[in-house]
C-alpha cells in the first residue's frame, strides 16, 4: 500500500524543472503526480512516476540529487467535506503530516500523504475503511 515518491533537489534556476520533465518524458516515464516545495534558493520536487526504478537510474546518471520516500495515497469521493473527514481521522490518531498534496479526477480525489509514522497511518486509514491506492493503481491513472 506504500507508494514510492521521488524527491529531487533543484536549485532555483531557470529551466531546471523543464530539464527534469524532458528527461523523464524522453524516457517514456509518465508523471502521475508532483508537487514542489520551494524556498528562496532551492526547491524540492516531489514526483510520483510510472516507473520509479527507471526514473531513479536516469536521474542519478544525470547527477540529480534524488531520494526515494514511501508515501501513502488514499482515494476519497470528490465532494465537499471528504478531505475534512480524512484529516479528522489522521489528527485524532495523532499522526503528524510532514506534507501532502492532492489531485482530483472526475468523481475521485486522490490524496498523497507523507506522515511521520507510515505504518500507523496505513493501519488507521485501513481500519477506517478508506481506500488506499497501490502503486499499480496510480500508474493506471
Amino acid at each position: 500500500m506504500l507508494i514510492k515518491q521521488l524527491s529531487i533537489f533543484l536549485e532555483n534556476k531557470r529551466g531546471r524543472f523543464t530539464e527534469v520533465a524532458k528527461l523523464l518524458g524522453d524516457a517514456g516515464i509518465n508523471l502521475t503526480a508532483f508537487t514542489v516545495a520551494e524556498n528562496s534558493d532551492f526547491g524540492i520536487l516531489r514526483l510520483i512516476v510510472s516507473d520509479d526504478e527507471k526514473a531513479i537510474d536516469i536521474l542519478k546518471e544525470q547527477r540529480y540529487a534524488v531520494s526515494v520516500t514511501d508515501v501513502v495515497c488514499l482515494r476519497c469521493p470528490n465532494v465537499p467535506g471528504s478531505l475534512a473527514k480524512v484529516m479528522d481521522i489522521i489528527t485524532n490518531a495523532e499522526i503528524f503530516v510532514e506534507y501532502m498534496y492532492a489531485f482530483s479526477q472526475g468523481d475521485d480525489a486522490n490524496i498523497v500523504i507523507r506522515p511521520d509514522n507510515l505504518e500507523r497511518c496505513v493501519e488507521v486509514l485501513k481500519s477506517n475503511k478508506l481506500i488506499l491506492l497501490a502503486a499499480s493503481d496510480l500508474y493506471k491513472l
Binding site: Q5, S7, F9, L10, E11, A37, N39, D41, F42, I44, R46, R63, Y64, A65, V66, S67, T69, E98, Y99, R114
Partner: protein, 433 residues
C-alpha cells in the same frame, strides 16, 4: 629514508654557517649582475662587504611580486641569457605574468630538493609516480618530473586534465604515487568512485599535493577518498617551484630545504622579524640560485617556523600549515576572512561535499559573502525543514568561525566546478575604486 642526510640532519649551527657563506655569494652575484638589486642596495647603503653571516640578511632589501612584473621579462636575471636553460612563468590573473629563468645548476638543485621531498614521504626508485600537475610554463609538472627522475623512480608524465585517462593509466600501470593539486586529488577520488573500478585494483598509496593552500581537514578527506597517505609539498615559482619544502612521514610540519632557500618570518606590516615560533609572513632568499636568485622575497604566505628537531631525525626547519596567502585574505565588512577557514568548516561537517565556491560582492555599500556548497547525496531530504536546518547548521558554524554571517547557498550535486589544477574558489565581484 632521508635523501641527503648530511644536509637534512645538519647541526643547526653548521647550517647557519653554510647559509652565511651562500648568502654572501648570492649577494655578490646579484650586486654585480642585476642592476635592480644593486640600485636597491645602494639606496640602502649596503654592499656585499656588509654581509658576513646569515644574521646580516636583515640589512638587505625586500623583493615583492610587483618587482618581477616591473622587470618583465628578464631584468631580474643574474646570469647571462646564454646560461639560462629553461624558463617558467606563472599566469598572472591580472596584468603581466611573472617569468623565472633557471641555469643548469638551478635545475639540478631543483631536482635535488624534489628528490628530498619524495624520499621524505617514503617514495623510492622502485616506485611509479603519476604527475598530474600541469606541464608547461607552470612549474608543477616539470618540477616534480625532474625530481622523480633524479630519485630514479618512474615518471608517468600525465599533466593535468583528461581525468578518465588518468584513472585508466593509474590503474593499468599501477602508479603508487600521485602528484597533483589537492583539489584535483579530490576530483580524481570522486571519479574513481564513479568509475566502478574497485579500489583494491589500484596500487596507489601516497599522494604529494601542493600548489594551493589546503587544510588538515582536506587532508583527511583526500586520504579517505583515495585511500592513501597525503603529504604537502610546498613551493612557489619565484623561488624555484614545488620542492622548496615538503612534509615527512610524521605529517607534522613542512620541512624547508633551507640550505638553498633561507626562510624568515616577518611582521607583514612592520617587516621586522617576529619572535621565533610566532606567525607572520614567510620570506625567502634563494641563496644558491644563479639564474634568478630572489633576495628576501615576500611570499605573502602566513605561517610560522619550528626549529626543533623532527621525530623523523631531520633538523631542517618545519613550517606550519599555511593559513592562507595574505593576498587571499578577504576583508568582508571589516572582518578578515581566509578561504582556508571556510574550507575547514565545510570539511568538518559530514553532510557536505568538500567543494565550495565563495562569492564576495557589494550590494548597497555592504559587503556580501555567499558560500555555495553541495550536500552529500545521502543527506538530501524530501522534507524542506530538514534541508533548511542543514543550511542553518552550516551557516551557524561559519559564523562562529569567521565572525560574520554568510549567505549559504545549497547547490546541486557536481554543480561546483571541479578543478584540474589550482582551484578557483573565490570570486570577488566588488568593484573597489
Amino acid at each position: 629514508m632521508i635523501w641527503n642526510e648530511t644536509i637534512e640532519c645538519m647541526d643547526r649551527e653548521e647550517m647557519r654557517k653554510l647559509q652565511g657563506i651562500r648568502l654572501k655569494r648570492v649577494v655578490e652575484r646579484v650586486y654585480h649582475n642585476t642592476p635592480f638589486y644593486r640600485k636597491k642596495m645602494q639606496e640602502m647603503g649596503v654592499t656585499p662587504d656588509d654581509i658576513e653571516s646569515i644574521e646580516d640578511i636583515v640589512k638587505l632589501p625586500f623583493t615583492v611580486k610587483q618587482d618581477l612584473r616591473d622587470n618583465y621579462p628578464f631584468d631580474l636575471m643574474a646570469a647571462p641569457m646564454s646560461e639560462i636553460v629553461r624558463l617558467h612563468a606563472s599566469s598572472g590573473t591580472t596584468g603581466k605574468p611573472i617569468v623565472v629563468g633557471y641555469t643548469r645548476k638551478d635545475l639540478s638543485i631543483w631536482s635535488e630538493v624534489v628528490a628530498r621531498c619524495l624520499t621524505a614521504v617514503g617514495v623510492t626508485k622502485q616506485d611509479m609516480v603519476q604527475v598530474a600537475y600541469g606541464y608547461g610554463l607552470f612549474t608543477g609538472g616539470l618540477g616534480l618530473h625532474g625530481g622523480i627522475e633524479n630519485l630514479g623512480g618512474t615518471v608517468i608524465p600525465m599533466s593535468s586534465g583528461n581525468t578518465q585517462k588518468q584513472i585508466q593509466l593509474m590503474h593499468d600501470f599501477g602508479a603508487k604515487v600521485l602528484a597533483c593539486t589537492p583539489s584535483y586529488a579530490l576530483f580524481l577520488g570522486e571519479t574513481i568512485k564513479d568509475s566502478g573500478i574497485p579500489r583494491e585494483e589500484f596500487l596507489l598509496k601516497t599522494g604529494i599535493f601542493g600548489a594551493e593552500p589546503w587544510t588538515e581537514n582536506m587532508r583527511k578527506e583526500i586520504e579517505e577518498s583515495l585511500g592513501i597517505k597525503a603529504y604537502d609539498i610546498y613551493g612557489l615559482t619565484e623561488i624555484i617551484g614545488p620542492g622548496v619544502g615538503g612534509e615527512c612521514e610524521c605529517q607534522n610540519g613542512t620541512h624547508l630545504w633551507e640550505d638553498h632557500f633561507f626562510p624568515e618570518i616577518v611582521d607583514p606590516v612592520t617587516l621586522q622579524p617576529v619572535e621565533p615560533g610566532q606567525q607572520g609572513e614567510l620570506v625567502f632568499t634563494a641563496i644558491t640560485k644563479e639564474g634568478m636568485p630572489m633576495i628576501r622575497y615576500r611570499t605573502r604566505d602566513l605561517t610560522s617556523l619550528n626549529y626543533e628537531k623532527c621525530a623523523c631525525g631531520r633538523t631542517a626547519v618545519r613550517m606550519a600549515r599555511i593559513l592562507g596567502r595574505s593576498d587571499d585574505m578577504m576583508i568582508i565588512r571589516g572582518v578578515n576572512v581566509f578561504p582556508s577557514q571556510v574550507e575547514s568548516v565545510i570539511l568538518e561537517l559530514p553532510e557536505f561535499e568538500p567543494h565550495y565556491l565563495i562569492i564576495v560582492d557589494r550590494v548597497n555599500n555592504t559587503d556580501t559573502l555567499e558560500i555555495q556548497v553541495e550536500v552529500r547525496s545521502e543527506f538530501y531530504s524530501d522534507e524542506m525543514n530538514k534541508m533548511i536546518s542543514l543550511k542553518k547548521k552550516i551557516t551557524d558554524c561559519m559564523q562562529s568561525v569567521i565572525g560574520i554571517q554568510p549567505k549559504v547557498k545549497l547547490v546541486e550535486p557536481r554543480s561546483i566546478e571541479r578543478s584540474m589544477g589550482k582551484a578557483k574558489r573565490v570570486i570577488d565581484n566588488r568593484k573597489l575604486v
